[in-house]
């Protein structure tokens, strides 16, 4: 029996989008299946409230347009959490209103709030696949997309109605659109991609302030791609600029301004405040190698160590294989260029890439991580603040996989047909199965989870690496102990969890509704400590307040304490 041919046309097209969308769909479904065990962190509670306000204003605009456009109504609707722009919070709110309030698709309001961010995770996987397929091969794109989604920290953050995964997607999409915009086309095509670039950059600005750094990726790249045309123009006294960069500079700010009603009034003062807030951001603390960092100087080893400790090792290995290959190609081109300048034969000069893709990928990765080597950059976000670099790390890993696959075929030239297919399948499985296992096991304690290279969760604890922040594990304390065992109506000191987060989890019947949150151990019958180094002081206060240092239950992940639960004797 002959199998039907599954061969795809060489040109990347709609079938690839179907494949990318399918990967995205699987991923979003996986997130939906696991989301109920992930508690509500501090920030999310605030974003839920903001989202509700924002969608309320939009409804007001539809119902009473004139009233909604008064400054008092705008400020009333958009003041909550005005330190961050509003694209995602608006989407969270729309999703909540339509899928929870109106159509009852999701019983949990939090799942409806979280869905848009989950979709951006799926969209990032989709884009990574298509990008990788266009740059390298479909196989590389598939492996890159899968390795990106199977980074345990990405998988954890993808559950949350926050901005870190959305800005990762927007950063990737901006790079992709910019790359496509550099292709030679007719006027219509060039204009369309340039406008797309402007719109997408505006949306990125509207997502999170990481987008401020984005020009550092595309401006040098765009100028380098068009260097000859720019120089030719300058020689005749004409300034030639890449259309996509012009569109980005004009359309981007317009989109940004149009989507954020809060800055429609007192625009410059409010923008100045926004800049100042992030340029002088408070330093929250974070534990690193057993020491709590409360402020600058941030350790320069933080990013490399955390990447090694949280990104699956096989992914990093493939990244190094792929990045080394591209660096070699770049070095060969540089050598050929230098020899050409010296009027010497260039030898085996590598064909140049008119889109300078390697440079673009390197800039997209490098600019996303560069701030974290500055001693003044706060590091309290752990790995989430440099996640925009991860799709590019994965793309290089995809290239590495291609090289490994090609080497395997050279080593096993006799493989054909099914045996070749099986060998390729086994190779794919060998690089995906560990990241899959680690990511799946990490949920819902994604921030406590570390890769096997450093000894897993226990290894991370032993190294003195942060186990969590935002107090989101109170949900797990409820699931494992409080819901089945707490006395009826018990008062609970919720420690690092916010009232909003606690209330949300109670409304959704994830935490028992009769339990009453209190703000101090001495007021409580049950007290929680979400283990972080600086939370030890709360632990010791409970010892004095309760007269005992023995918790009745400890929520653990792989034998590592996550939440201690005390009960007044």
């Amino acid at each position: 029996m002959k199998l039907p041919s599954l061969r795809l046309p060489e040109r990347i097209g709609w079938r690839d989008h179907v494949l990318g969308a399918s990967m995205a769909l699987v991923y979003v479904n996986w997130l939906l299946v696991t989301v109920r065990d992930v508690g509500v962190p501090r920030d999310e509670g605030v974003y839920f409230r903001a989202a509700t306000d924002y969608v309320g204003w939009w409804r007001m605009l539809l119902e009473r347009g004139h009233d909604a456009l008064q400054q008092s109504a705008i400020d009333g609707g958009w003041s909550v959490n005005h330190e961050h722009p509003v694209l995602m919070k608006t989407l969270f709110g729309v999703s909540w209103y339509l899928l929870h309030v109106k159509w009852h698709v999701f019983a949990d309001a939090s799942t409806a709030f979280r869905l848009p961010a989950m979709c951006t995770a799926g969209a990032a996987i989709w884009t990574t696949y298509v990008f990788g397929a266009r740059i390298w091969t479909r196989r590389a794109g598939f492996v890159a997309a899968a390795l990106f989604g199977l980074m345990p920290r990405v998988f954890f953050h993808a559950h949350l109605a926050c901005f870190d995964v959305p800005i990762t997607f927007m950063w990737l999409l901006c790079v992709y659109v910019h790359w496509r915009a550099q292709e030679r086309r007719g006027l219509g095509g060039t204009l369309a991609w340039a406008i797309a670039m402007g719109v997408v950059y505006g949306l990125a600005l509207e997502t999170k302030h990481n987008a401020w750094f984005f020009p550092a990726v595309v401006v040098p790249h765009g100028f380098f791609v068009h260097r000859r045309a720019i120089l030719r123009g300058l020689r005749v006294g004409r300034v030639t600029l890449p259309a996509s960069l012009v569109a980005m500079a004009i359309i981007g700010p317009i989109v940004f301004y149009a989507l954020w009603p809060y800055i429609w009034n007192d625009t410059f003062a409010r923008l100045q405040w926004w800049f100042d807030f992030h340029l002088h951001h408070e330093y929250y603390n974070i534990e690193f190698l057993g020491r709590n960092y409360f402020g600058p100087p941030s350790p320069k080893s933080y990013l490399p160590v955390m990447v090694l400790a949280t990104v699956p090792t096989v992914t990093l290995l493939l990244f190094f294989v792929g990045a080394f290959d591209r660096a070699k190609v770049g070095a060969r081109r540089l050598r050929a260029w230098a020899l050409e300048k010296l009027d010497r034969p260039a030898g085996d000069a590598t064909a140049s890439d008119p889109l300078e893709t390697d440079l673009l990928l390197a800039l997209a990765l490098g600019i996303a991580i560069a701030p974290f080597f500055l001693s003044k950059t706060p590091i309290f976000g752990g790995t989430k603040h440099w996640m925009p670099a991860y799709p590019f790390l994965a793309l290089f890993a995809g290239r590495g996989f291609d090289l490994v696959g090609a080497a395997m075929m050279r080593a096993l030239p006799d493989l054909t047909g099914r045996s070749k297919l099986a060998a390729e399948g086994a190779l794919v499985a060998s690089v995906l199965v560990a990241p899959l296992a680690v990511s799946a096991h990490a949920c819902p304690f994604g921030l406590a989870s570390y890769v096997p290279l450093v000894g897993g969760t226990a290894g991370g604890a032993g190294l003195g690496l942060n186990r969590q922040f935002w107090g989101y594990t109170t949900l797990n304390a409820a699931i494992e102990y409080m819901n089945p065992s707490a006395p009826r109506g018990a008062t609970v000191f919720i420690s690092d969890t916010t009232w909003e987060a606690w209330g949300r989890m109670q409304e959704e019947h994830r935490v028992r509704g009769d339990l009453r949150a209190v703000g101090a151990p001495h007021e409580a019958q049950i007290a929680l400590v979400q283990h972080e180094l600086h939370m030890n002081e709360v632990d010791y206060s409970i010892w004095t307040a309760f007269g005992t240092d023995a918790p009745v239950y400890v929520v653990q992940h792989d034998g590592v304490p996550i939440v201690s639960i005390y009960r007044r004797p």
Binding site: R410, L427, A434, A437, P521, Y540, V560
Partner: protein
Amino acid sequence: MSEEHGPRYRPSSPAAWRRWAFAAVPVAGLLELGAHAVQTHSVARREDWEAARAYVEAHAAPDDLVAFAPRWVDPIGREMFGPSIATLQREGRPDETRFPRALEVGLGAAHLTELADWQRGEEHRFGRVRVTTWQNPTPAHVLDDLVSLVDPAHLRVSRVDGGRETDCTASHAAVQSGGLGYGPAIPGERFSCPAGGFVGVSVLADLDYRPRRCIYAPAPGGGSVLRLRFMNVQMGRTLKGHHAIYVEAERDRRGAPVSITFKAGTSLLGSVVHHDGDGWKAFELDTSDLAGQRADVVAEITAPSGDRRQYCFEADTR
């Protein structure tokens, strides 16, 4: 056939290694998976902890130290061993010098660095939990521990403002505590001063976030003095102690120094100063002239400013 035995196909040749170098990637992937499986399945079980607890309960003397290693496993150790073995005195110990022996309950190969100079004794394994006995080569003999004398029968507290001394009365009130940033809980059993301030036994998070059971006596600041008179203390050759300020009040290194002056009767034993950044700072005062006698030990706490001077100390005679 002949080619297979030729130099080109020798497995150890560089060409052969290069040919199979790709295998490093799938092998790394499978090793990572294997390591993950081992790490997630090598967690100590509840039965292991319970067996270790039964052993320690049967063998630990009241003056032995019982401690957990690595340090991060401490909450599980306290849960499994309970407050009768993982006592506040052991958990919030000032240091290890007073313990003649330690029963260290550990996972894997982890040991407490504080016991590195002690003599290692027998070791018992209970599944994945290990109990190691350590002998202190030079245990200190504590005569009186001032922390254990914080009660109305053994301590009088007063506050001196502008030369006027006012008694701080012993009271039984509700504990006062808070969340992050509040500072050590204010114990229910405390001496309360009419002009403000208190003294009681609490547990302080020191600069390294370690628990320290100590006498919580915030410095009043200005010209005021917080005076603690421990009565009828058995004196030895030294008065040894530690002092610290609550981590959140100390770590920025902006606070005023806190001084504590010790007197025995009317004679001055010595004075020590705690500066922000000192952490859990040890001190030792010579009391050899008073060795074998009983005396009232007076501790006077002062600071130029009382702003966030959440001061705590412990001392003993030995």
